[in-house]
Subunit: 351 residues, 2 copies
């Protein structure tokens, strides 16, 4: 099969790789219909995280089950499935607590499973999925989704569930004012999640017309271009002299976290899902004196797929709008470049 | 009147001070029936916070209203009242959001009000209370509480409400396992708050027999003497191989916060109310990967007095047990010494 490998910073190659085969009775093989590049894939791409040896990459994909191990109970050959960005056994105490990202048996896509066997990355033609029952979610009644549906299903693998996680962490609900810091695919998904949870005042922070347009389509009522202190002043002005009840931090840098905290009112809630990088901090003194609740972290999107999928299938949300570009898998290197240079919000790759 | 002044580290004096008089129409004068020394009073006492000039001290008191300003609507002369540790106007957006500690018009006890007039400390014979309507809570039907009731009412000024705030931040409820880090008056109050909120498994951390005894009286099911990693291992052992759902951090040091985080399961909640000191941090990477929710901070105890008071008056909780020592106001310096050296859990001072 063909699959994407990272060799070093700025060195992404699509190469021939062995076709995946079942290695454990709990495995399934999935033929990938679509995959994508995550903002977090850009960390090793940019060299902020070192790539010590070449390995498969990608952790968001959807596709069709082509083989199942003897112990797989909930999946059949032919099922169209969504793979969450983190696989999970579904049975350990962390999984039972709904924190699948902390699963004791989690394997890293493009890394190794707990038996030390290589696990495929998501950006390839096929993937061996460990703990398939605990990981994959079947899309009922769908065999070959069209491109629009494919995009929305793929968004449930990570960005839409991550935006939803941020919104829950920020205690979004009817009557709560919302600020979303970050206009990447996760931030935009956070806008949609906030709208879906009943917020009617949603301030998205963006300086890019194309992203602001998606934010408005997702329910943003205001777009703020200012940053830092000025951003907080603008939020206060828009909200009649108070800061926001709920703030979603969807970037992960020191600047974005600072901006998010400045926009949160005393007693408000901050949902943070941006992978912490570049010195991002949660200053205990500020949280203490302002009574800001902080929740979020790596999203267990496995949890959220069933309820979000229902809304996708009903047509009440269209999270796939974050994919503004589609490329063939062979152009994965260009996909990384487009996202790195922010020429694209998010790229869908089709093998 | 006689009132307690701090002159410098380890220099507490009870002195003659001017009797308080009404300065604003929204003021009330309260004759103090009982006051106490807070763990946070020990910071300047120990010199960890500098005392640049002598000033009145103390922020927890109960007593009888003896005068009210012309604009005071909810209080009458003769009312027995509880003063929360933070006064508040009750009308600004922060107060209306239930975050009275962030009140735009808050005056610091023993400091100045927003007009720059001196405000009395709580450890004295009488106190001018700014924004009396927004600050004081009347104890209905009580004119002269006996010593046991006096202790419980006084605890609602700060420690019991603060323990309750920690428990809410830690999302304590029926079926949740609870760990309380800190065996001071706030930590012990946190045990009682957790028990009151329906937790049936409460692990208190203590190395002092007298404090452990109060913890058990308040509902602790287990006492753990270990610290750091060993404490977390013991918690996991007691809970059958998992960490706690809810952890209350009631100290505020780097060590106690680290211990609290180590005891929290992935996806669990940490309620923190210990005033941050000595390098306490909220490490963003740990919170992100473990999905730990953090809430708490300075407690707006004003909010909680009505519901906690109901339980005190009904006799279903007895938070006054944290006062193991009673001294006359004139011995305030000795009260500080007793708390500093941990000879006393908490001292009640009676003028």
């Amino acid at each position: 099969m063909r699959a994407t490998m990272i060799h070093a910073a700025h060195d992404i190659r699509v190469e021939d790789r062995p076709d995946p085969i079942l290695r454990h009775p709990t495995d399934a093989i999935v033929t990938v219909a679509a995959a994508c590049v995550c903002g977090s894939d850009l960390w090793p791409y940019r060299g902020f995280r070192e790539t010590t040896e070449p390995h498969p990459i990608g952790h968001e994909f959807v596709g069709t089950v082509t083989e199942v191990g003897s112990a797989v109970a909930t999946l059949s050959v032919g099922d169209f499935v969504i793979a969450p960005w983190a696989n999970s056994c579904g049975q350990c105490s962390d999984c039972r607590n709904g924190v699948q990202v902390a699963c004791a048996h989690r394997a890293i896509w493009g890394g190794q499973d707990e038996q030390g066997l290589e696990v495929d990355g998501g950006q390839g033609e096929a993937v061996r999925v460990p703990n398939a029952d605990g990981t994959l979610v079947v899309v009922p009644g769908v065999a070959e989704p069209d491109e629009a549906l494919l995009k929305s299903l793929l968004s449930l693998s990570d960005v839409m569930g991550t935006g939803h996680h941020a919104a829950l962490g920020a205690q979004v609900g009817p009557g709560r004012s919302v600020v979303v810091v970050g206009d990447g695919a996760v931030g935009l998904s956070g806008v949609l999640a906030a709208s879906r949870l009943g917020a009617t005042r949603i301030i998205a922070m963006s300086r890019h017309a194309d992203r602001a347009e998606v934010a408005r389509a997702f329910g943003a009522t205001d777009i703020v271009a200012e940053r830092g202190k000025e951003a907080a002043a603008k939020v206060s002005e828009l909200l009649g002299g108070v800061l926001a009840d709920s703030v979603l931090e969807c970037v992960g840098t020191a600047e974005s976290m600072d901006q998010a905290l400045r926009c949160t009112r005393a007693g408000g809630a901050l949902g943070f899902v941006g992978v912490p990088a570049g010195g991002a901090e949660l200053p205990i003194g500020v949280l203490f004196s302002k009574n800001i609740t902080v929740a979020g972290g790596a999203a267990s999107t496995r949890n959220y797929i069933p309820e979000l999928l229902k809304d996708v299938m009903a047509g009440t949300i269209n999270p796939g709008l974050v994919f503004d570009t589609v490329m063939p898998l062979e152009e994965a290197a260009e996909a990384y470049g487009a996202m790195d240079e922010r020429r694209s919000i998010k790229v869908m790759l089709t093998p």
